[in-house]
Amino acid sequence: MDIRSQVSMVFHLDKCIGCHTCSIACKNIWTDRKGAEYMWWNNVETKPGTGYPTKWEDQGIYKGGWEKNGDSISLKGAGKFKGLFNIFHNPHLPVLDDYYEPWTYKYTDLIESPEGDDQPTARPVSLITGKPIDIKSGPNWDDDLSGSPDYARQDPNLESLSPGEREAMFQLERMAFYYLPRICNHCLNPACVASCPSGAIYKRGEDGVVLINQKVCRAWRMCVTACPYKKSYYNWSTGKSEKCILCYPRLEAGLAPACMHSCVGRIRYLGVMLYDADKVQEIAASDGDLVQNQLDMILNPFDEEIIKAAKANGVADSTIKAAQNSPVYKFVKEWGIALPLHPEFRTLPMLFYVPPLLPVMASISEKNNKAQSEQLDPIAKFWDDQWLYDTSTEEIWGSVDQVRFPMKYMASLFTNGDEEKVKDVIRKLMAVRIHRRGKTVGDIDSVKVEKVLSDTRMSADTADEIYYLTSLAKFDDRFVIPPAHREQAFEMLEHTSDMKGATGFGFKEAPSRGM
């Protein structure tokens, strides 16, 4: 057993309001530079939608991730031979137009234009060429289902749905969407690391953060192809690839990453989990229930044996303690209500998502079709009260089957098509609400509440705990960051006495483009 710790995250999608504050916090700190303007290490997508870069989930186009090859797995679009063969021209590389051309406006024209008959305008200019451009797309062009025919209907996850189900999703009165914030998954079996010909990308042993060594990267661009989440970006100006660094300078100082800290919906949780690194390859190549296999690899930090093995392997006591308090462990393992994004890419992503209950849970039904038609305002055609937007719990689990949002769609995102698994999570989330309603409002009788809890194999205490961590959790409950032991980390960079009297640590060479 080779026990390591991994900094891991949970995103509670029910709470995400799609405000993009996380994206802006990240952009302001890390990617507000030449060559990185188009990068969004953190971005928020509307689902259904094509996302950023366009259709990133469609590995038929981008060839990202791993694919099963007999008993083992191999990289789909990169790898030793494919990578070196395609090194002069990578056929699956997303190009700038798959993201968007970054732009600014010529604001000075507004005040410096000569006097004339026309009002001066600030024309958009490309941040790459400096020439005026027509803005065709942006990083969140499909926000809130805007431009649905072009974006939402092109969502690769809709392929698992029948044409009828697909049409039903886009009927105006049934339309629903939710937000999906995405950062680098800091996978256990990262495809970007495996694809890098230079060996510039590595996973940190202590906390599992995946980083690109900027001095070793040679712009072979294979990581951009290999990452199925398209979270490795090519800096066109410096000729180096860059990716989310999980704000490791902040993490090491005990601060939450910028995206997490700034989240206004408080949807994000961060903590460490212990896992068995010996099993990574076996699990990544496993058959059957990929989600369950991945969860099996995550170890119980309260188990005496595991604590002993972890200590023997050099995991610090403070890290084990953090793993015991980890909110992520609770969501993912104890309660089983958080799922990984696209487990079928086989990178073992370590970001987990609590699937949204709404709009999934609300179902609409027509009470009386005839009465409805008569009452319909012939001009405004609004829907009146005869349409029932049903969020009630009359039929306890019936509404799970009548959801506005097809379970197939959710399953294609989170469980490799296993609808039962998503339904199970949804039922658990509902059970917590029913239990709390019974407790606080009191209009649900206790027999029903007990049935709901037993159906979902939960105790009342567990439901209360889920409720607490979902709704009331304080900052320190949501972010359990173990000490980074900088006394060790420091010497990774430089030997302190060597740098005595010098200007500082880290980059002593300006990160500018080569000759």
Binding site: L75, K80, G83, L84, I87, F88, H89, N90, P91, L93, V95, L96, I128, T129, G130, K131, P190, V193, A194, C196, P197, S198, G199, I201, Y202, K203, R204, G205, E206, K215, V216, C217, R218, A219, W220, R221, V224, Y234, W236, S237, T238, G239, K240, A277, V280, N313, G314, Q488, A489, E491, M492, H495, F507, E509, A510, P511, S512, R513, G514, M515
Partner: protein
């Protein structure tokens, strides 16, 4: 003319090799961040295919052909002993030369006409592409006009190149060679000279090591096994894992 030949075939090679050696080592150690192939595929991916792929593959094969003729002249002469084999070698190399030439033409065309690529083009890129263009053109001219190059390179030029490395330059043969061949040789040394000042450094870091490294890479601050072993002697620098 002796001074010119002395300059082109004795001084220039030594200057070029010295600058190449010191320049690349200095650049690798001092400005590691600037070691990059500076790919522009991200900005323009379609036209690149028609330039980059033919150019790179053929120039690599041609480079190794030149290297073989330089290092193993006897092998080349033995191969060329039969006229048919000589013809195969010469014709295939000439085709490769044309492929590289056309590929490079596409690359120059793409670099100068695509506005996005122009945004990341330095004057050194254009100078380098111009020199390579002339060099391949001269190479094709030599191959066409002074047959059979593979044989006389092995028998006449290889001793000259070796004499440079033996620090005893013998330039009689190159001094007597036709102008085109002389230019081709001199320009080759100019290209060697330019390596540390251009993006050509990327060919020195071609990632062959990828073939025998494991796919996954994990790095630790310290080698935790060693640091915890009481038998590990104390050192100024703690034992690193990678």
């Amino acid at each position: 003319m002796t001074w010119l030949y002395n300059f082109l075939f004795i001084a220039l090679p030594y200057v070029a090799l010295t600058v190449f050696l010191i320049g690349t080592i200095y650049r690798y150690r001092g400005t590691k961040f600037k070691f990059s192939s500076l790919s522009s595929e991200f900005l323009e991916g379609k036209k690149l295919f028609w330039g980059s792929v033919p150019f790179h593959w053929s120039i690599i094969i041609l480079f190794f052909q030149h290297l073989t003729a330089f290092l193993l002249p006897d092998a080349i002469l033995l191969w060329n002993a039969q006229p048919l084999r000589l013809l195969i070698l010469e014709v295939s190399s000439f085709i490769l030369g044309i492929t590289a030439f056309v590929g490079l033409f596409f690359l120059i065309f793409r670099r100068t006409t695509t506005s996005r690529v122009r945004a990341v083009t330095t004057s050194m890129d254009l100078i380098l592409e111009g020199i390579l263009f002339i060099q391949i053109f001269l190479g094709l001219w030599v191959a066409y006009g002074y047959r059979w190059g593979s044989s006389w390179f092995a028998s006449a030029l290889s001793p000259y190149l070796k004499s440079i490395f033996y620090l005893n330059p013998q330039i009689d043969v190159v001094a007597a060679a036709p102008l085109v061949i002389q230019l081709h040789i001199a320009l080759a040394f100019v290209i060697v000279l330019l390596v540390p000042f251009t993006r050509l450094v990327h060919l020195l870091v071609y990632p062959l090591a990828y073939l025998w490294r494991p796919y996954q890479r994990v790095m630790w601050y310290w080698n935790k096994d060693k640091i915890r072993n009481p038998k590990t002697p104390w050192t100024l620098f703690p034992p690193k894992n990678n």
